[in-house]
Each structure stands twice: as C-alpha cells, then as structure tokens.
Amino acid sequence: MTSQPNSIAVPKMLPHGHVGMMSVITTEIFFFATLIVVYLAYLGKSISGPTPEELLSIGLASINTVALLASSVTIILALKALRASNQKKFLTWLLVTVALGAWFLVGTAIEWTGLVGDAHFTLQTNLFGSTFYTLVGFHAFHVTFGVCALSFIWFCGFMGWVQKKHHQNIEYVSWYWHFVDTVWIAVFLVVYVIGR
C-alpha cells in the first residue's frame, strides 16, 4: 500500500536572495517610474522660469554618467576577483567602485551648489524645481545608500571578513548597484537629453 508515486518532482527553486532582491528592485522600478512620469508630465508646464535649458549643463552630467557606468564595470571585476579568491584585487576594484560612486555624488553636489547658490533655484522656485530635485535627489539618495553599503563591504573585506563563500551576497548588492546605474541612464535621458 503506497500513497506516494514512485518519483516525486523536486521543484527547482532559486535561492532566497535572488527572488528577494529581484522583488526589491521591482518595487523600486515602480517608485522611480512614478517620479519619471511626473517629471515628463510637468515638462514645460512651469508658469515662471527658469527652464531646464537655462540651468542644466549636459557636460557635468555626462561626466557623472561616465563615472557611474564605469562603476558598474568595476563592481563586476571586483566580484570576479572575489570568486577567484584574489582578495587584493577584490578590495582594489571595490575601492574604485566606491570612489566612482563618491565621484558621482560630488558631481551632483557641485551641480546643486551652482543651482541653489548662484541661480537661487530650489524646490520652491517652480514646477521644474520641484520635479527636478525630487527625481534627481531620490536617485542620489539611492547612490548614497549604495556607496555606504559598498564601503561597509570594503571595510569588512579589509578586516578579512569577506571570503569567496560570500560571493553570492556581494552579488545581490551588485544587482542593486546595477539597478541604480540603470535608473540613472533613464534619469539622464529624461532630464538632460529629452527634457533640455
């Protein structure tokens, strides 16, 4: 008497982290999508100036874009080094990634100092100000979070606490980082290319 068939399928299932991180990214995509939709809907709707053409320079933003895109490559290199158990190379590439992320933030800070200090352009100035600072600000906030997370990993690696066996967890952080980069491409296109 058997109540079980001869073979029971073992469903192929992904690790927790895969699905968990993908869920986080899904929900984040829709958060940024809302901000971007509002930015586009309000493009050119401000009743008073200044306009994006008058204020935004594509030069600075392009340099920032290059830095952030490069950091997506360096984090892949760092992960590769970790998997090859090359601790030194891992730490170096990770540090470069952190530096590129920090560079992006400094670039944003320079841009904002110019906008707020010289042009007296704030969240309150007009509709463009509200949407611009919210969209770019929330992205920068995500970069800041990423830089903090990567710095923490670097510190742990420096103390010798990160090993090859942790590569999967580091990969999830890298997914987040790639996501932040991808959002920037969208933001860059919307704010600095289409919107200018």
Binding site: M1, S3, I8, G20, S23, V37, Y42, S130
Partner: protein, 548 residues
C-alpha cells in the same frame, strides 16, 4: 563566586514583542485588524446615526468629514491589509510545507511598521491640532484628492498624519510582500511544483506582486504631497502650472489594484473553503490560476474608471471603459468555477461555508454594479452618489468581509486548537447578512435619487428619508452580528470544543500538523504528490496524483 546561569528575562509580552515567528506575527496582524474593524465600524455607526434623518446634527460637518475619511482609510489600510497579510503570513508556510517565511526578521519589522503606522494615524485625533486650530483627524477622504490636500484648504497637520502614517504602514506592506513572493517561490516542499500549490498560495503570490507594483506609486505621490505641504514644492499646485488630476491618475494607479489586493485574499479563502465543504476538488484549478494572473495584469490598466467624470477625452474613456468590462471576464470565470465546485457536491452548511456562499452571491452583485458603473454615461449619472457607496460595500463587505469570516471560522480551530460555536456563528451570519442587505441595498436607490456621498446631511422631502432610515436600521442590525462574533471568539477561546488536528476533514498541509502548530510547524518536512496531499494519505487506494 559562581555566576548565576544566564536566564533571559521572559514574559508573554516580551515573547510576542520580540517574536519573528510567522504564526505569532500572523496572529498579531489579525488581532490588530479585528480591533481596527471594530473602531472603523463605530465610525460607520456614527455616520449612519447622522444620516438617519434629514438635517440631523449629531455630527458637525467637520467631524463628519473626519469620520468618513478615517472609516475608509482604516478599513482599507488597517483592517483589510493586516488581515490579508496576517492570513498569508500564518498559512503560506504551513500550506507549502515550510518552517517559516524566507526572511523572518524582515517579517517582524514589516509588522511593527504597520503597527506604529496605525497608531500614528489614530494619534491624529489627539495630536493633529494644527497651527490654525483645525480638527485633529484627517478629513480629506481616503483618496485625498488634490488640491483639497494643499495647505490652503487643509491647514494644520491632519493631512500630514494621513501621509506619514500610511507611508510607514505601506513600507511594512511592501516588505511583507517581498517576503511572501520569496517564500512562495523558493520554499515549497518536495513535490510541490507551481501547479501543485494550493490555490491560496497562487492568489497570495499574485497579490504580493500587485503590492510590489502598486504601493510604491502611492509612496511616491505621498512624498510629493508632503514636499508640497512642508517644503513649498508645487507638485499639485495649479497656480504653478501643475495639474491636480495627476494626483487622481497616480492615486488610482495604486487605488484600483489595491481593491484587487484586498479582494484576491478573499478569493483565496473562499477557494479553500468551498471545495472542503462541498467534498469535491476545486473546479478548474488551471483556469483559476490563469484568471488570477489575468486579473493581476488587467487591474493595472483600468484606473481611470474612477475618473470618468473629470473630462477625459472620448478615446481614453472608451479604452478604460472597455478594459473595465474585460476584467469582468476572469472574475466571472472564478464565480463560475466556485459554482461548479458546489454543483453536485455534498454541501455541508457549516459557518465557514455559509459565509463562503454569502460571499459568492454578494460579490456577484457587487461585481455587476461595478460593470454598470463601467458604462460611461451611467457613471456620469451615478459618480459620487450613494450608488457607488452601495457598489463597493457589496464588494468589500458582502465580498471581502464575508470571505474573511469564512476563513476565520475555517482556520480558527487550527490557530487556537478550539472550535468556534456553530450556533452563534450561524446567528452571526444571518444577522450580518440581513443587516448588510438592509444597509447597503437601499444605498443604490438613494444614489439613483441623486444623494451625493460625503455630504454630512440632506434635505427632507426629496425622496431620501426612507432609504436612509432603512440603511441606519440595517447598521443597528449589524451590531448584533458583530456582537455575536466577539462573544463567540471570547467564549470559544476559553471554553470551545477541542478541535483536533483536522476538524473539517480537509486536504491541505496545514491540517496535517497539530492545532495550534508547533513553532517548527512540521516535525519532518512533508513531501507531496498532488494538490490534496491529505486526501492521498487518507485514501491510499485512490490518490489524486494518479489523475493530476
């Protein structure tokens, strides 16, 4: 000198506050949900008292606004959401043969965010006094249309309470949704392929994905509104060139899926209860799965049917009207599947089944009035009248709440080890059923007569007195229903009949363990071969896996 052995301080309270166990968190969610159900029910009673006769002055206009806002906000975010998240929390691991959720501590964090979000919302009654000395609680309606929420029209801080409390609770819901998706996709026991999951798990999976997609939009626009109110931004400021309709579009991009986020768990409860009490397998399982997924998709593309009266272009109207009709198709498929499950079955009308059948009938009516509202000219006539109020209470009270009671009576024995009293349960059903029809049925007629919603009173001699009096009497009848429920729960917790592991002769894995289940759920992780693993064990001569 010898140190005393380490003994952690432990008390019942400490244990519950620090727990990361999915079952304890599930129970806490549901208990909070029921407490808020009573609170929001009392708010509704005050509304019905005020509207019982024309030109009544039980509530001032301002208090009335606060009460209908808090009633709606509470019912959706502090009753519907926690009960569904609690049920998913409790039963998903048990049903898929796992020992806990994928991220137990995230789970606890999500619960406490909800808990404090709820407290913050209710603190507004005391602390909401703004600079201008306005009323405390939020009074802008649960969908908080711009520009009513600007500091010009809503001074003080009550709207800020609405924003921040829902923001906090919403973050908790998103975390729990992440947890649910991960748990369902990665922790199923041996043999449980996706198509062998209990239908409950399928519906909760789609539900959690909808939360992931819809809630961040609410979060984003709430942040924008907060920036407007506190930092002088102009997102919804028409004088700066903004379009307040943007709020409506984005709110309903969240708000419509939210309705499905609330009702899908109701579908899930009924889809588990109906087969067990008909002694048949669920009819059309694959079709149920397809219908659930299509509902998830279509629900994301129908939001502007809440905005037919805002002057959208004919093309847009035609699209959203058509899409809304379309969502009736998978929903109708489900209704037919439930009826086909009942058909020819050996139906046992225990309380869970009474509520499930009540759900099927009342939800069908609510769905049909929804189809009526999808007809654009009809909507122009009925928009913002009591017809709409009647419609969505048939969906959320006759539908969702009946489904919740169905699930509550069905799983209470598993959670507590005690049966609820059947006689009290049946009386509760009939009181609620009668009270429900009496309250919300006449609203369709007063709506046809042109009674607008959200207005604190009405004039005599316009043909509205009779319907409103009926509605208010219905509300009183409901008090008996809810009263019996509270008595039944308190009584059964102390003196209920012991339930045993499997009081309903059911088939899903949660009934294979003890009632209440041990902290580790299963001594050995089960392995299954069909959608009804317990049927297979009980009928080794004729197991389901031969046919699936």
């Amino acid at each position: 000198m010898i140190d005393k052995p380490y003994s952690p301080r432990s008390s019942k309270l400490h244990e519950w506050v620090t727990t990361a166990d999915h079952k304890k968190l599930g129970v806490m969610y549901i208990v909070c949900g029921i407490i808020y159900l009573i609170v929001a029910g009392c708010e509704a009673l005050m509304i019905r008292w005020q509207l019982a006769v024309p030109e009544n002055d039980v509530l001032s206009a301002e208090t009335y606004n606060a009460f209908f806002t808090m009633h709606g906000t509470t019912m959706i975010f502090l009753v519907g959401m926690p009960i569904l998240l609690g049920a998913a929390n409790y039963f998903i691991p048990l049903m898929i043969g796992a020992r806990d959720m994928a991220f137990p501590r995230l789970n606890a964090f999500g619960f406490w965010l909800f808990f404090f979000g709820g407290l913050l919302l209710y603190f507004s009654f005391l602390g909401g006094q703004g600079l201008s000395g306005e009323e405390g609680a939020p009074d802008v309606g649960w969908f908080a249309y711009a520009p009513l929420t600007s500091t010009t029209f809503s001074p003080g801080s009550s709207t800020d309470y609405w924003i921040i409390s829902l923001f906090v609770a919403g973050m908790g819901s998103i975390m729990t949704a992440i947890n649910l998706v991960t748990t369902i996709l990665t922790m199923r026991c041996k043999g449980m392929t996706l198509m062998k999951m209990p239908i409950f798990a399928w519906m909760m999976l789609v539900d959690a994905i909808l939360i992931l997609i819809a809630l961040p939009t609410l979060t984003a626009i709430q942040i924008m509104l907060l920036l407007d109110r506190q930092f002088g931004a102009h997102f919804f400021d028409a004088q700066a060139g903004a379009d307040p309709l943007i709020w409506q579009h984005l709110f309903w991009f969240f708000g419509h899926p939210e309705v499905y986020i609330l009702i899908l768990p109701g579908f899930a409860f009924v889809s588990e209860v109906t087969p067990v009490f008909s002694r048949k397998v669920l009819f059309g399982y694959p079709l149920m799965v397809i219908a659930t997924i299509s509902i998830g998709f279509i629900a994301l593309g129908v939001w502007a049917h809440h905005m037919f009266a805002t002057g959208l272009s004919p093309t847009v109207l035609a699209y959203f009207s058509g899409a809304t009709f379309l969502i009736g198709v998978p929903t109708g498929m489900k209704i037919f599947n439930w009826i086909a499950t009942l058909w020819g079955g050996q139906i046992r009308f225990a309380t869970p089944m009474l509520f499930a059948v009540g759900f099927i009938a009342m939800f069908t009516i609510g769905g049909l009035t929804g189809i009526m509202l999808a007809v654009v000219p009809m909507d122009w006539q009925l928009s913002d009248t009591y017809f709409v109020v009647g419609h969505f209470h048939f969906v959320l009270f006759g539908g969702l709440l009946f489904a919740i009671f169905s699930g509550f009576f069905y799983w209470f024995p598993k959670v507590t080890g005690k049966m609820l009293n059947e006689t009290l349960g049946k009386w509760q059903f009939w009181f609620l059923f009668a009270g429900f029809l009496l309250t919300f049925g006449p609203m369709h007629f007063s709506g046809f007569e042109g009674m607008p919603r959200r207005i604190y009173t009405y004039m005599p001699n316009r043909g509205l007195e009779f319907y409103n009096m009926l509605s208010s009497i219905g509300a009183v009848v409901q008090i008996f229903g809810f009263g019996l429920f509270v008595v039944n729960v308190l009584h059964s917790l102390r003196k209920g009949k012991p339930a045993g592991d499997d009081p309903w002769d059911a088939w899903t894995l949660e009934w294979s363990t003890t009632s209440p289940p041990p902290p580790w759920n299963f001594a050995t992780i089960p392995s299954i071969a069909s959608r009804r693993p317990l049927w297979d064990t009980k009928h080794p001569d004729d197991p389901d896996w031969k046919y699936e």
